[in-house]
Point group: none
Chain length 213, copies 4
DNA sequence: GATGAATGAGGTTTCATTCAT
DNA sequence: CATGAATGAAACCTCATTCAT
């Protein structure tokens, strides 16, 4: 499996531990880091707190990570699976495009809600460190491009408003969903009821693209 | 005139200077602070850099501000006029709701583009300091509420899809616009052509609310 | 007067203090640094010890110096006058070249003995930090070149062995004197009687160049 | 065979390995240490670098050495043969004292040039660690004493200037040669042509002691 | 009002050394 | 004999803030 560095693009010189013991320690540090980061924020989190949480010494920390940024990268990396493959297990393709959009939005929002604190953290760090902004942007781009392709396809099939630019519309609607998720779940401003948010998002997607036509 | 503190909600003990010289110095510091913040970001900006830019001493800084947060509040405050009254001079009320929305979006996006760096900065600080997050949230809420009232009105007049929740839809659509503005103008990701963005936003608003009906 | 940096070639960003108080503090730090360096050596000297000796805080140290290397440069710089102009007040030019050489050697050795600890320190640091090696080399080169010119002149006047290469001979004899000074005064190995050393050095110079001719 | 410790005077508790495998590992470490020391200097050399170069683990290092100083002692020890017996195979005793001095100087300088990097390293460490300064001093003393005996002999036979103190003159001239070697070969300042240096050194010895008489 | 020297808490980072496997 | 994860003391350095001039 590729090292964390290669996936998030955050440079790393430290290699993955080879022994079972090393792996266990590294894992404990990543877990502890997530706890401390979510509790104190990236800036307030101190290495001592992380190592205390992982019940190891500062020196051990530096055996596995170059510094705060690198553990953070590892934390993000560890949460990728959960966020990247947001379920979408059995998309009801035959129930029409609206159903697909709804399922997709729900999957995204469910995953977002589950990792709300981490997403907030990611936003914070992205605003501080350009390398993480790049990670965030890449992730968002991937999401946007997938949606752009979908919209294009619907337009080609005559099911969606052909006057909207697929790329930009996908971007705008994706941002709408992700930002609403951010405010509702990460900032805890506004309704926290998932279904309510799914409903609005889906309606605005469907209406926005004129899918009813 | 009310102190900055009262407007942004950031506590201040420092009074506004009474002499002309004092006012000039304070102004120079706010201007310098904006330059340095926009150039280095909030975290990297050091008070020495700001006073150097303003060609005055550190001591002088503390004559007017309590610290970094307070100058930042002053910088934001100084930019409020430009952002709060985003033109909207002659809204063509009689050309129909779509025209109003378009004008409103354009006004917002024009102002955003003009203050892009500051908006990015505001985002950064909001993620760091809860007091500024509150400022940001209040601002967004005001924008959202205004839009919610409009939507409700359109629904009442039978011009908009009555099935969408006006508050949440307003919030979602407002976030869509502001976030797209942020990415395009502040992060400089994606198209920087204003009209293109105005067009998409307006179309998605109009379609989304089924205003064509 | 030129800053330390420009003379020793050690880069400095810190400017010289402008106020009297600042000058006094900086001076105290340089003096304290010399004491601590001579007592503990460059490597063992800690910044805390220096600031303690100067009765000021660590922060104050960093107001004037970038780090250990920079104070050391300042210490060396402060001692330059004493070493560079090693007296040589009334060189008895008319008593013949041997007398000139003796006076020159004596002046050098007297200055060396007076600054023996610092010279030892300089040797240590030169072996550790290439920038100081460069300073040392430049100093030695200047000394050697002056002697080379003298030898050449004596050769031209038919007073010195014409078969020796003036540059290399000057270098060799200069090194002989400086190294003997180093071992006797800095390392305190061998005789510490100045006149004895002056006598041997002078005789080896005079014989070596065949000045008796 | 006596342990390294007894020769360099550096205390050691580690015994020499008894097995063939152990000897091979130890040898690899000494070789690797020389490479790393010559490349990075004593201070910058880290034990990890040495063990990496020797392709073994840190733990293994401690099987054979107490620490950095001890491997360094072993490195020096391994190079002793080359430096201590600097050839001088068939000194042409009957060609006169000048020829002996020339042969002796050449032998020394050839050996020095071959081990220039190590000699530089030795100088560095001697300035840092008094135990190695002692090793260096002992070595220099031996060289000086041998030369002092020679000079005395020449004086007794009426072949050398009787007015120079044999001990101090020998010391001075020996330092001249060794220091010139250091600067030319270790620091690479000045001519690197061996014969040129041999010529000057020999002439200054011969002239300096008035051997022509 | 303006100045800038002085402060020092508090974080980060390194690497020789140990020791259980 | 070989391994390499774990340790933690010890030093560095920053910069917001104070205050005497």
């Amino acid at each position: 499996m590729a090292s964390i560095g290669s996936l998030t693009g955050i440079a790393t010189t430290k290699e993955m531990p080879t022994t079972r013991r090393g792996l266990r320690t590294r894992e404990a540090l990543v877990k502890a880091a997530r706890v401390v980061f979510e509790r104190d924020g990236f800036l307030n989190a101190r290495l001592v707190d992380i190592t205390a949480e992982a019940t190891c010494s500062i020196g051990t920390f530096y055996t596995y990570f170059e510094g705060k940024e690198e553990v953070f990268a590892a934390v993000i990396e560890a949460a990728r699976h959960d966020m990247l493959h947001p379920g979408m297990p059995h998309v009801p393709e035959d129930e029409g495009p609206a159903a697909v959009i709804e399922a997709s939005n729900r999957a995204y929002l469910v995953a977002y809600k589950r990792n709300a604190k981490l997403m907030k953290l990611m936003q914070q760090v992205a605003m501080i460190d350009p390398r993480f902004e790049e990670v965030r942007a890449r992730s968002a781009r991937a999401f946007g491009e997938r949606n752009a392709r979908r919209i294009k396809e619907l337009q080609d099939r005559g099911l969606a408003d052909p006057t909207v630019d697929p790329e930009l519309a996908a971007r705008a609607l994706s941002l709408m969903v992700s930002r609403l998720a951010f405010e509702c779940f990460a900032l805890e401003e506004g309704p926290r009821d998932l279904e309510e948010i799914v409903a609005v998002c889906t309606r605005l997607w469907v209406n926005g693209l004129n899918l009813s036509a």
